[in-house]
């Protein structure tokens, strides 16, 4: 009982600290959230808007009187961002026009990696994977895409993905299996060729 109360107190203190230093927290999480949105939406401009929405929602939720305590703020923020992207993906279904990912815009935003990061070959390879998968992701449903992106790019466990998406693990596995089936050609090519 005391342990639960202590945990609750610590979570509330963590939430209060986030409100107190929201700018610092946002700066630390901003790039990750933006890349997550970009991978889910496949469009840099839309990801920019979704990232802004996610942080505004986060601020509103945290600064509200009696806001719920957060045990894992990063996971909670991911959930806010994923839900924001899912809303946008669902709304796309009602659009008779649909913007395709603009590679030139993305290239303008995504600068080349710094010299301190892995080798240029790795960077090039990662970019190739990113481009191929980004194109292939458009074939997935919003849920399948979310599950795959969280697993592939964020290396989240199935339990974490389930918590972020608000699903049970069995459903997450089903979404992932369907996503892998739809991406089979690309994944076979990527892993088969590079893994040899």
């Amino acid at each position: 009982m005391m342990g639960v109360m202590a945990g609750e107190l610590a979570a509330r203190q963590a939430s209060a600290a986030l409100v107190g230093d929201f700018a610092g927290w946002m700066q630390a999480e901003q790039k990750r959230v933006f890349l997550l949105c970009r991978r889910l939406l496949g469009d840099a401009d839309e990801a920019d808007t979704a990232t802004q929405e996610a942080f505004v929602k986060a601020w509103q939720a945290l600064s509200r009187p009696g806001a719920a305590a957060l045990e894992d703020p990063a996971k909670w923020l991911s959930r806010v961002a994923v839900n924001t992207c899912l809303d946008r993906l669902r709304s796309r279904r009602w659009q008779f026009w649909r913007r395709r990912p603009n590679q030139e815009d993305e290239a303008a935003i995504l600068a080349t990696a710094s010299s301190s990061s892995p080798t240029a070959e790795d960077q090039l390879f990662a970019q190739q994977i990113g481009r191929r998968l980004a194109q292939a992701l458009s074939r997935l449903s919003p849920r399948q895409r979310s599950a795959f992106v969280l697993r592939h790019y964020e290396d989240r466990s199935l339990e974490e993905i389930a918590a972020i998406l608000g699903l049970d693990i069995g459903t997450v596995k089903a979404h992932l299996a369907r996503a892998l089936a739809k991406l089979r050609v690309e994944l076979r090519d990527l892993y088969g060729r590079q893994g040899e």
Binding site: M26, A111, Q123, L133, G195
Partner: protein, 144 residues
């Protein structure tokens, strides 16, 4: 009889947490080696692309603006300077505009003095023209 080796699809599925769970990877060195190669490929895919600092700073600025909420137009710093400049230009135009032309006034030295005025009137009354009208005027004057 040894179990068959895993296919690429099964190894890929395992990478994503949905592959077979028959313990084959713990028993088969060949499949374990292939799986490690696949895992290395995926590790490389986890390399995050850099995002320019300028973009992130501009994005944070927009987030702050949205958090603070919309302000009245005249409070926006971006509009404050143009509005102030326009007000100054308007004031300068009003102050430096063409002055109204001065109305003609008589200088005090040009004003006729009272004595001269009376003299002029007296002269007029005593003029020849009015004297010629005296008989007619007499018709209407009551006799004492």
């Amino acid at each position: 009889m040894p179990a068959r080796h895993w296919t690429d699809d099964e190894l890929i599925a395992r990478l994503y947490g949905v592959g077979p769970e028959d313990g084959h990877l713990e028993e088969c060195g060949e499949c374990a080696a292939r799986w490690r190669r696949f895992a290395a490929v995926r590790e490389r895919a986890l390399v995050e692309p850099e995002v320019s600092q300028e973009f992130l700073i501009a994005q944070r600025r927009r987030i702050y603006e949205r958090i603070e909420g919309p302000r009245p137009v005249f409070w926006k710093p971006a509009l404050g300077v143009p509005i102030a400049a326009a007000a100054m230009i308007l004031a300068a135009l009003l102050l430096s505009g063409p002055k109204p032309s001065p109305q003609p006034t008589l200088a005090s030295s040009d004003r006729p003095k009272d004595a001269e005025l009376f003299a002029d009137i007296y002269d007029t009354l005593e003029s020849a023209e009015l004297q010629a009208l005296a008989p007619v005027r007499g018709l209407f004057e009551e006799k004492q």
